[in-house]
Structures are given as C-alpha cells and as structure tokens.
Subunit: 232 residues, 8 copies
C-alpha cells in the first residue's frame, strides 16, 4: 500500500546503523509524496523520523497518517514518534541573535533534542549590546557545543567563540535586507570569523546546525578508545 519507489528510496536501515534519526526534506515534495513517505515511516516506530521544512500542507499530510506526530509550526518541523529521547552526552546551547532568528534557532534546538541531547535556548543577544551576551557566559561555558544563529551582520558567532572553549556551529539566517543578500553577508562573516573554533552550515539550516552540535556532544562510543587526559 505504501509503494513509494516511484519517487523515494527510504533507507531506515542506514539510519539505524548510523544512529541518528532519518530526515525527510519536505520542500519540493508534494503533500501526496510526503504522505506516502509518512505511511512507510509508520512501519518503523523504532526509528525517529524528522520532517523538515514542512509547510502547513505538508504537516496536514503527515498528521493524516501519523496523527500523534509532534509539530512545531514555527520551526516547520514534525517528528514521529513524538517522544523526545532521553538526554545523553554533553549539553547543547542554541543562541539566537535576534527575535527574527527564532524559527531557525528552534529548528536547531528541536533537532538536537530529538538526537538525544539536552539542549537550551538563549534569545536576542546580538552584538549591538555586548552585556547581553556576557550575561549568559556561565551557561555558554557549560556547553559541549554551541549553535549560534544570526542574520544581518552575522557577527555573534565570532564573539561567542572568543569567550568559550567549546566549538561553535554558526548558522547564518536570511534575516535582514538589502546588502544582507538573503543571508550571504552573515555567511561570509561567519566564514571569516577571527576567532578559531567556528564552523558554518548553510543559510537557515537550523536542522544541520542542531544535528552537528548533537554529534559533537554525543557520548563517547564504546568502540572508540579515546586517549585520556592524564592526571593533574
């Protein structure tokens, strides 16, 4: 009944092996195609599936098949099964430079949580008012990975990276106008951050930012034998 082979090739087995949720990128898919994929997903409740960049029509199509799916409209994200996994590994902190960056920041936050991390959100701390960043230093310094979401000048990730020792994943957003060029300005700023410790994902890619942060903050795998910090 859920023959989707004409337009998609789900690889839930690969997902199981790699250990992270499957993600269905809804943009460019018809609601009918998304519904078909949702039906295939329903057969595999042991794997968490995220539906990203889902419009209201996409969401309706998913929930017609998976009525209990979690849905955050501002982040354009659905998840099924809806339960957030219990948290493992280090802490992820997501920082949104401005109110308009919130949708992308929430996509990062929820992705990190559905990948099994404890994740928190800090809002409206742009560099125009440094004291606002500085007031969150304690929290930032407890993070194993920090996602910084910013549009316009995109200056915040470099400033944060200079203050902490954890890696910073910078997510440029298309917030802004004119010479912001739909996020290009923020993207270039972040790629040229003076402080080391900043890596960048695609413009508005909250999913990618949250995913990477969750990978960084993952608990040690048993099969990997890390060198230990020597005593002292």
């Amino acid at each position: 009944m859920t023959d989707i082979s004409a337009y998609a090739d789900l690889d839930l087995d690969r997902t199981r092996r790699r250990g992270y949720p499957e993600a269905v990128y809804c943009a460019g898919k018809t609601p009918g195609q998304v519904a078909g994929i949702a039906a295939a997903v329903r057969e595999h409740p042991d794997v968490v599936t995220l539906f990203t960049r889902a419009t209201a029509e996409h969401a309706e199509a998913v929930r017609a098949v998976l009525p209990d799916a979690f849905h955050d409209p501002s982040a354009a994200l659905l998840a099924w099964p809806p339960a957030v996994p219990s948290a493992q590994g280090g802490r992820v902190v997501v920082v949104a430079a401005g109110t308009s960056d919130l949708p992308v920041a929430r996509e990062a936050l929820l992705t990190a949580r559905y990948l099994g991390r404890r994740a928190e959100l800090v809002v409206d701390v742009g560099v125009a008012g440094l004291h606002r960043v500085l007031s969150h230093l304690d929290l930032l310094r407890q993070a194993r990975a920090v996602v910084v979401v910013a549009g316009m000048d995109g200056a915040l990730p470099g400033v944060v990276a200079g203050l902490i020792s954890a890696p910073v994943i910078a997510v440029p957003t298309s917030v802004g106008y004119g010479a912001a060029f739909e996020g290009l300005a923020a993207l270039l700023t972040m790629l040229n951050a003076c402080a080391p410790g900043v890596a960048v994902v695609n413009i508005d890619n909250g999913y990618g930012g949250g995913h990477l942060a969750a990978q960084i903050a993952a608990p040690p795998r048993p099969d990997a034998t890390p060198h230990q910090r020597p005593p002292g």
Copy 2:
C-alpha cells in the same frame, strides 16, 4: 613649465572654497604625470595637498619636486607642505582591528590630522578578544568621530557602535583570504551592522574614512547657527 593640461585639471580654487586639502590619487598615473602635478602644486603653498596611494616610484617623483614633502610609506601617503595644521574641532579616534590593518588605519589617521583634527590610533583590538576593545572605552567615548578599520569578518565597527554615541565610520580592508573575497565580506558585514550609527566607505579607503571623520569632527562654522542643547 608645469603645463599639465594634457592629463589633469587641478582645481585648487575649489579646494580653497571647500576648505579641505586637495588630494592627488596616484594609482594609474605615471610618475611623470605625478611629478608634473607636484610642480603645479608647488606654486600654491597655501593649500595642503595629499598624494594618496603613492608607490615608491610616485614618492620619488614627488620628492624630486617637493623635497620636504612628508612621506609615510606604509600609508602610501605624501603631504605638502609637510606641516600638520594645528588641531581644531573634536577628537578623532582610529581603531585598527588587527596588525595587518595598520596601513589603512595610518592613512585614515594622517588624513584626519592633515585636515586639522586631533587624531589617535588604537591597534589590534579585534572582537575575538572583547576585553581589548573594552579597555579603550574611555578614549572611544571622548571621540567626536571614530574610524574603525577591519578586514576578515569586519565585525568590530558594529561592536564599537553599540558602545558609544558618536558616529562610526567603518573602513573594510582587503586583509584576509578565501571567502574574505578581498574585503567584500568585511564590507557586507559593516553594511549590515546591527547597531545604528555605522556608515561605510570603500574597501581599503583609509583616506575616505579619515576625511569623513574630520568633516564630522569639524568645528562649527560661523555661518551655521546650530540649535543649542537647552540647559539641563
């Protein structure tokens, strides 16, 4: 003897009316043309003339005609007559984000001084170490105009503008590599600065930055009758 009409049309009278030095942009001119202009300039010692973007060859050509001309090779600038005018108006502070931004910053500094302003230089205060900016806050807050020179991510002007009430003139530099795109990244960052109070000049245009700061910090003209701040 100094017939330069085949390639230039000096307008020293306009310079006198407008009240600022004449500037000779040397790039793209032959040393011979620059020497011819220098000879014409020699007839008008009452006007300060700046030679900008002067290579060593240009400088040699100028000093062959005007041996006492001031020359700062790092800023690629000459001035004649060499004496710096006595300072008038408000203070100008020039801030260089990194050591590599120094040539452009010095061009701004010297331009502001030859336009008659008291001007000071602060060096190596990039946003990767915020405490360095913060340690100069007192000086920055005394300025009537601040010129911030930065390459790479170009984030410093927006941070400075958020800390002071004077206008910030941002000068992007071509310092950096890769996605710095010869200063484009810094330029876009500055145009998108989240803090109001930032305006931008061309990449590496220390002359333009210093000139504008000097205009901003100019003493009130007698013919202009500004509204006064009311008592209290």
Copy 3:
C-alpha cells in the same frame, strides 16, 4: 502580563545611557511579538521607541496597544510617544533623487526628527537634470549633515559631496530594475564616489541614514572639550 523574554530582550536602560531612541525592527517578527514588545514599551514613556519596517499588520498590532502612536505608512515607521522632541544641534537635509525614493527618504527624515534634529526634505533632484540640484545649493550648504537617497545609478551623493563641505550619508535604494540588482548598482556607485566625504549605509536603510545624520549633527556634549577654531 508583558513577558516577552521568550523572544526578545529589550534594553531600554542602554538606550537611556546612549541617548537615542530604541528601535524595534519589525520585519521577521510576528504581529503578536510586536504587540508584546509594544506592551513592554508602554511601561517606559520616558524613552522614544521607533518601530521600523512595520507592515500594516505590525502597525495595527502596535496601535492596539499604543493607540496614540505616530504612524507614517509610506515610511513603514511608528513612534511612541508620538511627540517629536524639540530640535537641537545642526540641521539635517534629506535629499531624494526621485519620487520612487520617497519612502526611504521619509524614513530617514522622521528618524532624524525623532532623534531631535531639525530636518528637511528635498525631492526629485536626480543628476539627469543638474540645475535641479544646483537650485537647492543654499539649503544644502546650511546643513550639518546631508542624507542623499538614490536608486538606479546612485550618482547623486557624489555630485552633492562635491558641492558642499558637510558630510554626506548616502542611502542606496532598491529602485530600478535589471542591472540595478535591487540596489547593488547604487551601493557600488556610492562606495566609489570620486568626491571624498561620502559614507554609505545599507540599501533602503533610511533609518540608518537618518540616525547617523542625527548623530553627526548632534549638539556638542558637555563632557567633550573640542578644540576651537582660532580667531580669523
């Protein structure tokens, strides 16, 4: 009741210290978020707050909370409290190259007035008819700062700067088509203006242009002791 901490962190205290109105950038915020901020603003009638880039929906949300707010739909601007402060400092002149540049020019004009400057507007004086610019020379020469708003070729700021000694803040607009590239052509023209004394803000950023002009034309601060123009 006005708990906005989930999406914004108003810093009216900083506004007080820096001496300029707080600005709320509405683009990218929901009307609900803007209404929440307006409610927070209502508690602080001693600070002028500007709402910029406000759509009709944003404006409705603001006026539901602050019914007496000033609203200029063409400039997409609201202000509260609505009274314009009494004018201090030097005069600001805003010049619009064409009729289509008016919305941005009005945003600059109103911003300068709400920052406490006397500000006037000159309309439709593009370089295709030089006599139109020249007919306003007297007014332009009385300004402490001139804002020039232009789209298409963006040539006007350079022409104006060559005629006056006050600083020119150039605001490129997205007026035009084809190789105007949404304001990029005008932006580049302005950055390359041959006359010194031009600095540029973001495309369509009337708020930024008016803000900077107001800072430049600000009355001398008591704590700053400028050098005086010597007699003669």
Copy 4:
C-alpha cells in the same frame, strides 16, 4: 611566406565590404602570431588595420614587419598604414573623467580618427567638480557622438547625457580599487544611468567606444534615403 592559416583567418574582404578597418586583438596571441598577421596585412595597403591591446613585445613584432606603423604605447594601439584618413561625417568628442582613464580614452580617440572622424579629447572632468564639465558644454553640444570614459563611480556619462542631445557611448574603466571591482561598479552605474541616451561597451574597451561613435557620426550613406527634417 605569410601562411597564418594554422592560427588565424584574416577577412580583409569583409572589412572592405563593411567599410571599417580590420582590427587584430593582440592579447592572447604570441608575438610570432602577430608578426605573421602583420605580414599578411602588408599585402593589403588599401585597408587600414588596427592592432589593439598590443604589449611592447607585440608592438616590436609588428614594427619589425611594418616599420612605419603608427604606435601609441599608452593606448596600446598600432595602425597601418599610419596615415589618418581625412575626416568625414560628424564630430566625435571623447571625455576622460580622470587622468588615470587616459589610456582608454586615447584608444577611443585614435580609433575614431582611424575610422575617419574628426575627434577631440577632453580630460579630467569628473563629477566631483561639476564646473569642469560645464565649462566644456559648447564643445560637447557640437558633437554628433560623445564617448565618456570613466572608472570608479562611473557617474559622468549620465551627467553628460542630461546636458546634450547627442548619444553618449559610455566606456567604464578598471580605474579604482576595492568595491570598484575592476570596473564592475562603473559598468553598473552606466547601465543604470537615469538620463536616457547612454549605451555602454565593455570595461576598458576604448576601441569599441571609439568605433561605435565613429559609426554614429558617419556621413549619410548614398544608398540610404533618410527622411528629411521638414522646413521650419
């Protein structure tokens, strides 16, 4: 002896039919190839041939074969036979915005002359000093076609077009730095000129500008029967 068929296919017959000189674009050709072409040209003294963008090495190679060829090193141009044809048709005026634009302007000037037009050069009349343009209005208004050569902001062609009724051919140059982007800024400005009557050729293409102006100012062809301006 002059077998050049391995690398070029001269079409002097076509040149004769179309009525304009043949042009050999030297950039990218080896001096040996240029010499071979010069030898082929020598067989056809009834056709004027221009060698454009010729380096010193190219020029030496041409003059080894055609010792009496005309050579203007600043314009990187050679012509053979060297005699300028007697002038026909309307007048061409070439305007160079700055001294650094002279090489391109001279290429335009010489091209127009070798195509058989009376052509004159006006130098250093940038828009930063409008009175300089205005002082040449009489000459500009006598032209049948005006070539305006400008780098940096490229604003001059639009200003000139607003003052005259003849067509303006705009030649952007790579003069400038930073956001001039090797002539891109001037190119865009010229494409967006507010005054109608401006068309643009490639950056630094003095040859193209002069050629087009010469075509515009060509005398009426006997085979074309233009409509006559009615009496009165």
Copy 5:
C-alpha cells in the same frame, strides 16, 4: 490643483530644450502620484510625454486624467498626446530574438516612433536558425540604427553587428531561467560581443534602446556642420 511638488519636479522646459519627450518612470510611484503628474502634463500639450513601466493601475490612473492617451499594455507604455510625430531622419529597425522578447521590443519600437523616427519590427530570429536572420538582411542594411532585443544567450546582437555597418544597440532581456540570471547572461554576452559596433543598455530597457536609436538616426541638426563625404 496639480501641486506635485511634494513628490516630483517635472522639467518640461528642459525637455523642450533637449528636443525629446519627457518620460515618467511609473514603477515605484503610486497610482495617485502618477495621476498627479498626468494632470501636470495635461497643461503642456506641446510636449510629448511617455509613461513607462506602467501597470494596469498606473494606466487607469493616467487615462482617468488623459482619456485619449495612447496605451500599449504589452509594452507597459502610455503616450500623450497620442499622435505619433511625423517621421524624420534615418530608419530604425528593432529585432526581437524570440517571441518572449516582444514586450521589450515593442517598448523600443514605440519609443523610437514617439521620438520621431520611422521604425520597424522583426520578430523571432534567434541565432539557433541563422537563415532567419539572413532573410532580413536587406531591411537591416537600410537601417541607420538597429536595436536588437534578446534574452537567454544574448548572442544575436553580435551576429547582426557582423553583418551590417550601422550601429547596433543591444537590449538584454530577462527572458530565460536558471543561469540566465534574470538577464545577466545576455548582458555579459552583449558586452563581450566579438564584432565591434555593439553598445548595450540595461536589462529589459526597451525605452533606453529605442531612445538611443532615435538619437542616432536623428536628422542632422542645422547648427552642426558635419564634414561631407567627398565626391567619389
């Protein structure tokens, strides 16, 4: 009653001096502003006025005031008074590479006619079928100026210029998709045309192309004394 000074400064006197119609660029103006300008225009029936880039709303506003205005919706153009001037000077030929280029081509055609030229249109002669261009050679060779309108690869103007001796005004259009980049590809092609004799106006600027062609094909002005082609 027609006080438009708050948003426009019509300069019909300049139009009279320069000898060409006034043009009102409607894009970016409100219908109300356009109506106001139309009312001002109504006072001056001795001057032809073109309204360019007029939407249906703009057109309705114009015709409410000037009911007999000529209107070509596909070219988005209105003219008043509606009568086409009697033709003078040389012939203008407008060539449209494809059917989709017709709106821009018609704007050029009508502009040339309202400037007083005999103008004809040739349609759908792209370079993919050379015989189609070649079949119009006779007409093309009778033109004093040719306007070539093309999108996509923009190759046609260079091909036409290689076939005729009259100047070619190339008008790139935004026809195409993907790497056509809204006309940028065609624009660059035209700027790099291998055949001399091509100059370019802005993307989709049929008005500019037709205007320039009309200037080129203008009858000799009595005050200009061209050199005559010698007998023989």
Copy 6:
C-alpha cells in the same frame, strides 16, 4: 623507489577497467611530486597517461623520467607512451573561435586523439564573420561530436549547434577582458544557448571537452546492444 603514497594514490587498474587514459593534473603539484608520479607511470607502459596543465618545470620533471614523452607546450600537455593510438569510432571536430583560444583547443584535440579518436581542428571562425563558420559546414556535419572552444561572448557553440545534428561540447575560455570576467561571460552564454544540443565543461577545460567528445564518438561496445535504426 617510486613510493608516492605520501601524496598520491595512482589507480591504473581503474583506468584499465574504464578504458581511458589516466590523467595527472599537474597544477598545484610540485615538480618533485610530478616526477615521482612519472616514475610510477613508467612501470605501466600499457596504459596511456596524460599530464595536464604542466608548466615548463613540470614538463622538465616528467621528461627527466620519461624522456620520450610527447609534449605540446602550448597545450601544456604531455603524454606517455608518446604514440597516438590508432583511431576508432566517429570523428571529432574541434573548433576554435579565435586565435587566442588555440591553447585550449589544442588540449581538446590532443586529448581526443590520445583517447583513440580521429580529430581535426578548425581555427578562427568567430560569429562576427558567419561566412567563416558556414564554410566549414561539410566537415562539421561529418563529426560524431563537435567541441567548440570560445572566449569573450561565447556565442559560437549555439550557432554551430543550430547547424548540425551532432552534440556540441562547449568549452568556454578565459580569453577576453573586463566583463568577460575570466570566462564567466562565455560560460553563461553557453549554458543559455538557444539551440538544444549544447553541453558545457569548465572554463579552459580543453581536456574535459576532448575527453567527453571522445566518449561520445566511441565505437559501440560489444556488451551494449543498441537498438538499430530500422531500414528506410
């Protein structure tokens, strides 16, 4: 002795399986690295190896190890063993728009020959003189694949594709200046060619163009059972 594993991993076995020569891209490699690879190649005389983009230093390094290697300096290409394989499959024709495009065209030509195709070169047939293209139609129509190499406006591939039924591989070159943008203009033109049947490779990538043409013109593989054109 030829341990190159620290910097390269030659895969001659894969080359054998795929049936085409191995290619060593020399740019960015030190002459020492290239020499090391040449020594490894020497062990495998049954596989043709091409060294592309080889400077004089690279060529010297190769020939120190493989003294009999074929070397075409203008194409910056070496081949070893030097013998050209006997020709199989269909004919390849390489067309160079101008003399300056010859180095890239020769790289394509030689690559096609070393891949086992009969390949011929046609030179200097730009669209500015259509009769030159048309005079080669017979040869072009005999080709199984045509490589068209062109810089500047890049218009030739679209014209050729409209004349023949074989596929056209377009190779843009960096020949040109100004708005040619190092080959970008030609690249965009080719991507937007109006005639179907044009595909594009990287700027200056003669190797890629020749390789693809050779693949297209390859003889039928025995394991592939093509459908046959029915009789009649």
Copy 7:
C-alpha cells in the same frame, strides 16, 4: 487562419532537416500565442513538437487546439502527436538524486523518449547513501548516455562518471535553499567534477539534458563512416 508571423517564425523545415522535434518554449509567451503556434503545428503532423515549460494555462491552450496532445503536468511538457516514436540507438538512463528533482528528471526522460530513445529513470540515489547508487551500477553501465539530475550539492554526476565509461550529462536543479543559490551551487559543482566525462546544461534544463543524451545515443547515421573497433 493561423497567422503567427507577428510573434513567431516556426521553422519546421529546419526541424525536418536536423531530424529532431521542434520545441516551443512556453514561458514568457501568452496562452493566446501558444494556441496560435499550436494551430500552426497542427498542419504538420509529420513533425513531433514539444511544448516545454507549459503552465496549466499554456496546457489548456494547447489542448484546446490539439485535444489529443500528451501532457505531463509535473514535467510541464506537452507533445504532439502524442505517440512516442519507436526506440532507436543506445539506451538513455536518467538519474534523479532526490525526490524533489523529479520534475526536471521527467522532462529529460520524456524528451529522450520523444527523440526516439529507450530511456529509463532511477530515483532518489543521492551521494549521502552511496550504496543506493552502487545498487544501480548494472543499469548505468548499459547506458549509452546518462543524464544525472541533482540539486543542493550537485555531487552525484561526478560520482557516477567515476563509475562508468559512458558520457554523463549533468543537469543542476534549483532544489535547495540558502547557499544553493537557486541551483548555482550545483552548477559549479558539476562544472568542477573531478572525474572527466561530465558536461553540464542549464539549471533545471531537463529538456536540454534529455535532448543531448538522445543525440549522443543516436544510431549511427548512414552518411557517417565511423572507424571500427578492430577485432580483439
């Protein structure tokens, strides 16, 4: 009755000579123009005509005239006469990297079929899961030409080309967001593919990709006498 000469010049004779269907590019044409062309097409049932980039309105206009026309809405394609020609020549395989690339892939598939090739489609085999590509290797290696359709990173064509010896036609799509820049990222990736054997057509140009593949896989023409692979 079908006089379309005012806006189009169908060249069905050329189509017959070249041996491929005529294609009508509907974008930018009015439904009325498309209907007129359809009526002209109806007179020539011996030629297959494709209508590409047809909106629902275009399709309705075509089917009003040609009721039995084939229509694939997802590919925005119509064909008339509707019968697919019997397959000749080699096999074409079309590969779509993701579900969202399907519309473009189907346009390629149908074009190849209407040009007379056997063509098959493989879906959702992006490089993020290599085993999916590898599972189709047998089919890919039977193809005479492979069309690879991919958006986002556009990495798939290079991977496929490394696995097979047939030519790969890469079709970048505008699928993606942010720094995908409407297909520019995928386009650049494909132009820089490390494996030789990849050529690229315009973004979203499924028609061009399918057309080229069909040309490559065409049966040998009787007039061309290819060299035969020698026995062994």
Copy 8:
C-alpha cells in the same frame, strides 16, 4: 626590547584561560613585526604559539629569534616551543581529496597535533574513485572528528559524512581553475552537502579546520558533567 604595542596586543593570558595555543597570522605583517612578536613569545615558553601563513621571509624572521621553532614550509606553519604536546582525547583524521590539497591538509593535521590530539592523514581519495574512500572506512569510523580537505567540486565531505557518525569539518581549497572560482565552488558544495553532519570553514583554512576538530575531540572537561550513555 620587545615593545610591540605599536602594532600588536598579544593576549597570552587569554590563551592560557581558553586552553589552546595562541596563533599569529603572518599574512599582511612585515617580517619585522613578526620578529617582534616572536621576541615577545619567547618570554612565555609555557604557551604554545603557532605562526600561520608564514612565507619564507616570515619563517626566517621567526627562526632568527626562536631558532628551535618547528617549521613545515608546505603548510606555511611554525610552532614554538617545537615539542608536540602529548595526545589527549579522541582521534582526528584529516583527509585530503587530492595531492594539490596537501598543504592545507597538513596545516590542519599539525594544528590538531599542537592542540594535543592524535591526528592522522589520508591522501588522494577523491570521489572520482569511490573505492579509495571506502578502503579507509575503518580508520574514518574510529575518528572522533574528521577534517575533509577538498578543492574543485568539493564533493568529498558529503560522501564521507554519509558513511560515518562522527562530525565532519569540511575545508574547501582554492585548488582548481575556471569555475572553481578560487574555492567558491567547493565552498558552496560543502555548505549544501546532502548528508547532515558537515560544517565548513573558510577556503584554505587548514588551521581553522584542525582547530575545530581538536576542540570536538577534546577530552571531557572535569567541570562539565555530561549525561552518560545508559548501559546496553
């Protein structure tokens, strides 16, 4: 003696607090300035200092002051004190797509080692030959962070990320030509990687890539209490 305050403001204390080496970016600094900084560094042998992007002249200047400094000319890197710290934390694997990417890859490798990680290098594993990547899967899967360095199409990081569960830091390089646009193509590819788990640093920024990988693979800090993976 080592007064460098005129051009630099070393912050070794901050380095100590953050726990990573200080880095001196040499590009744009004079050898004299670098020597001055080296002298200041000499006072602080407890902090590792890296000198990046050091030309031969820079290296000579450093070693005149710090004769025992480690120097890798291909990576343009120096380190002092020269001893590599003992390895802690997880393993870092650096992958270079091609031989030409080696200098950047070595910069990443050495940076990771000087930050205290065990780091290994894999060379020449581009996607054109997938089996080469696949042959290193075991090593890649043992890494806590993988740095993938690639120019041209930049496709490798996305392929690697699809095969492992550790985060991938992608470093685009300027290797390539034409439409590689100095690394822009690779940068865009990486930002659009279809597989999640890829973040990008600046073009040629091996230092940044190695630094970030070292941060990711850092041993758990005692003050951070990560959630533990539950048993089973």
